[in-house]
Structure formats: C-alpha cells, structure tokens
Symmetry: C2
Subunit: 323 residues, 2 copies
C-alpha cells in the first residue's frame, strides 16, 4: 500500500495522477494530448514531463511515491517492458522500450500493463467488480479489450496477453480483423463497427434519422449519435445496437461457459449507450447459456469511468513491487 503514479497512455490523451493504492483516491490528476504523430520519442518525453508535473503538484517528495504504473493501449512484453503494438497510436510503437526510457528519465520503479487489464484490476478493487472473486471485464471502444480476475488474482497468461476478448472469433466467416484474423468480436461490436453500420444504413438509404442527426455529414456519424437516434425511437439505429450487443452477448456467453465468473463488467466509451447495449447482451446470454447458472451472473456497467486505466496501472505497480 502507498502512493503510486498511475499513467494512462491513450490514443488522444495521456492521463496521470497520484493514486492512493489503499483507497483508489486520486490527486494531482492531469491530462495532456498524446499527439502521437510526433513519434514515440516525443510522446515519451512529454509523458516524463507530465509525471514530473504530477509529482510536483501533489506536494509529495519523489521518494514518498513508491512507483509508476503505465497502462498502454495494446500489446506489450511486460517482463521486458517493451511495447509491441499500439494500434491507436501513430506508428504503432513497434518495439519501443518504454519501461527503460521512463526508468532512465525518472529513476523510479516502473511497470507496464495493458490498459484494459489495468481497468479490470481497478474495477475489481474499487469499482463494479468489488466483492466477488472472479470477474471478466470488457471495454468496448475503438477496440474491444478485456481482462479477467480469477480467484482474486489478475490473470495475465503467457506473455501477459490474456484477456483479449475482442479477438474471440464469434463468426468464423466474419469480416477481416486488423489483428490478421477474421470474425473477431472487435470487427462486429466495436465503436468503429457500430459507426460503419450507421454509415451503411445512411448510404443505403434506410429509413433512419441517423443522417439528419449528423447534419448530413457522414464524418459526424458516431456510436454516440447512433445511440441518440435509437433512444429517439429510430428502429434502424436500435437494430445496430442489437446486432453489436448480440455479438458481445455471444462472447460473454462463451466467457461464462468457460470460466463461470460471478460478474461481467462492461465499460468503455461505447458502453455509455447503457441498456441500449447491455440489454441485447443480457438477452443473448439468456438465450444461449444453459450450462452455467446464468441467472446468478451479474452483467453490470463499469463504475470508475475514464480514470479506471490509470488507477489500475497504479495498483499494478503496487502488486508487481510486492512480488
């Protein structure tokens, strides 16, 4: 237990704060633009400055802070501290030795973790996953990420890459996925998948208010706008969320049948659609899960919001120091 810096490296913003690992309380929370077009070196330099500013703002001595945890939106080698693939950052950061660079600049114990695994740990410790020993967590956004806490422990698996629910194959002959596969959940139920369904509906001239709400500018079509249309009674928009929710439901059904967790936590930007997305997930689980007592499983929205990633990264810094 103690004070850790949590950092959340995102596609558009980098957030950082001092996190009290006993309470989850944040102080000196700051956020800057990532500007990933400037390249990894520039971004890392700005991340170092951000962390220094957070420490200064916290009023604590650097030595009073036990370590730094950085959540990264993609694949990494946790042992080596090297980032392998960040799909939403310019250049994808192939092979960036992020850990080494942060340690060299700040001389503080540092750990890296996938951002959704970090979110999972945070939601389990302080959020919607509290009080049960096994949860699955999904983050539905630009991609679909995931994580598991199993018997009270964040499950990392071989190379620390466990939890990638977004790359569960839910439709063997489905669309090509950026990962190289086909029919991954992410191709059918992520923010971009929902937007693409909205664009298709408008382009094909279906009876929907999506185009009108977007001011007839296709660039303005987004999951949030489609959700707005659906809430206003637009059947086409509702069908889009039903379809995304169906595929999320199939993936959740498979997680339930495999691991039989007590609770499934669903977060990420797209999940702000609330019941519009959660209801078709719950319906699909009711219709498709028979082996597991699905009526005992809670499918609930995440609770910690956008700071879950940095809280979890800070918690992970505490956990991995303890080992």
């Amino acid at each position: 237990m103690g004070a850790y810096i949590g950092v959340d490296l995102g596609g558009t913003h980098i957030g950082a704060a001092v996190v009290d690992s006993a309470t989850g309380e944040l102080s000196a929370l700051r956020s800057i633009y990532t500007r990933s077009r400037e390249g990894p070196e520039a971004v890392v330099a700005r991340m170092v400055t951000l962390i220094e500013e957070v420490i200064a703002e916290s009023g604590q001595a650097k030595t009073a802070i036990s370590g730094i945890g950085i959540g990264v939106p993609g694949r990494l080698d946790m042992q080596a501290g090297v980032v392998h693939y960040l799909p939403n950052l310019h250049g994808h950061w192939q092979g960036v030795p992020l850990l080494e660079e942060i340690v060299a600049a700040l001389e503080m114990p540092t750990t890296l973790i996938n951002d959704v695994r970090a979110m999972t740990l945070a939601e389990w410790t302080f959020g919607a996953g509290q009080g049960v020993d096994t949860i699955a967590c999904l983050a539905v956004g630009t991609g679909v990420g995931g994580g598991f806490v199993i018997d009270g422990k964040l499950h990392l698996g071989l190379g620390g890459v466990a939890g990638e629910i977004g790359h569960q194959v839910v439709e063997p002959d489905g669309p090509a996925c950026g990962c190289g596969g086909r029919g991954c959940l992410e191709t059918l139920a992520s923010g971009p998948a929902i937007t693409a369904m909205g664009l298709e509906a408008v382009t094909r001239g279906l009876v929907t208010r999506i185009g009108e709400l977007a001011g007839y500018d296709l660039n303005s079509v987004s999951p949030g706008l489609i959700a707005e249309a659906a809430r206003g009674g637009d059947a086409v928009a509702r069908a889009i969320y039903d379809k995304a929710g169906f595929y999320l439901g199939i993936a959740v059904a498979n997680v339930l049948t495999a691991l039989a967790p007590r609770r499934i936590v669903i977060g990420g930007g797209v999940a702000q659609a609330g019941d519009l997305l959660l209801e078709p997930i719950r319906r699909t689980v009711r219709e498709r899960v028979f082996i597991v007592p699905a009526e005992q499983v809670e499918i609930v929205p995440a609770r910690l919001g956008v700071n879950a990633g940095l809280i979890g990264a800070a918690l992970w810094a505490g956990h991995s120091r303890g080992r």
Copy 2:
C-alpha cells in the same frame, strides 16, 4: 497425500481403483458395466459394491484410505453433492443426491467432480499437462468437455461448472444443441457430429469408402471407422476430420486468446484419431490467433488414457479434504 478411491461413472462402464495421490499409481483397478437402464438406485448400489470390492482387493484397511472421489459425466452441484444432468445415462439422473447415498452406504469422506475437470487435474498432475502453471484440457468424445488449471489451481467457477468448452458457441447460427443453445462446439465436433457427417456422406452417395468399411451397415459408422477411412486416403473422411478440427481449432483459438495458457491438452475417444484431428486444430490456431504468441503454445494429446477421470477424481478427493 495418501490413498484415495477414484471412481469414474461413465455411460457404459464404471471404473474404480485405489489411487496413490503422490504418484498417481493405481491398484485394485476394476471396471463394471453401468447398466444405467436399471435406474440410479441400482447403479449407485452397484457402485457401492464395486468400491467395497476395490477396497477388499487392495488389501488395505478401510481406515487406511483417506476418501473417495467420484467423477460424473455431466452437471452437478459440488457443494450439495447432487447430480443435475448426466446426458449419457438413462434417465439423466436429474437431482440424484449421489454424495449423500455414497456416504450413507460407505461412511467415508466423499467428493464429486465433473469427469473432465477430474481428467484435467489428472493430466496436469501426472500427464500431458505436467510442468506448466496454466493449461486447458479438452475431452472430445460423445460430448466435448473441458477444464482449466489456472496458476496451479483447478478452476471451478460459479457452482463448479467452469470449463464447458463444448458449449462455446463457435457458429452463432449453427445446429441446435442438446443443452438448449445453438452452434455449440459439441454440435460440430463431437463423436456423434463426426458420425453424423459420415452418415450424411454415405447417404448422399459421395465418393467415399466409409460405407464399404462399415459393411454397408449404417449402424457401424463411427468416428474410429471414419478415421480409418481417412488414414487410407479417403478424401471425404479426411474432410470430415478437417471440419471437426476446424471448429475445435476455433474454440482452442478463443481459449488461447482469452486465457493465454501455456499448453492445451486434447483427449477423449475421438482424439485417438491423433494428427488427423490435431493437425486441423493446430492449423486453425496458426491461421486465426495473432494476439497470443501461439507458436509458444503446445497443443498436445492427453497421456493418461481412460483412467484419467478416476485418477483425477481421487486427486480431487485429496484436494478438497485439504480445504
């Protein structure tokens, strides 16, 4: 550690032996016909007699045996010791208080466990899963069962029903499943699914030797016979195993991407087809898994054979006594 009775309640046979939980060695191994048509009461009575005979044959005093573990082929409430659904036994044993009846008759500490979870524990402890901390196990037979050891612990999940890989949805619009769902792995890759594909090929008059090998008796078509045809160069028979292996591969791919285990162990009667089944599984994993370092994952045949279930049930009796 000590001597436990392991029992494997199967659809056609009940096996039992004394198992040395430190070495996995069996003594006084016996097997009788289940004759499930006689009803649960008669079967339980014969199971009690079998256990008494095994104890007598072992030459050990009853008090030298620490407990009994019974592997059951279906769903059960482990806590209550009640069997809920055994699809391959006559009458399905809905609500049979098996634990209570065994304890009443034998007055020995007794535990129940699903047979494939038992096999998973046995293969991890003494078989193909030795030496790694996380494995997934599949048993491909009349049904498709599964189990996980995660971080050195058998994962049971809510109500002890985790591990049902056979009810992963691998084709959302696929065939109806006995569980009530649709497109479950079991409908596309179990022994009966393979047999059904063979029957369809013969009935539709495809160019295949399956009918000839079966002596033109459809009752003789079986996964083993189709495997024999495939090994003899029969393209239709090979395509049947390719299809079953493809769907097993999709399920294995999803397990890999979710849990990133170090090793996947594949057993059960149908897996006796060896590479005929394992190769399409490995190929599908190579073609569909990109997030997890799939080249580091071993997909291997089970090693303990038909006694894995009773060995695992005995081990589980030891584990649960320890708690």
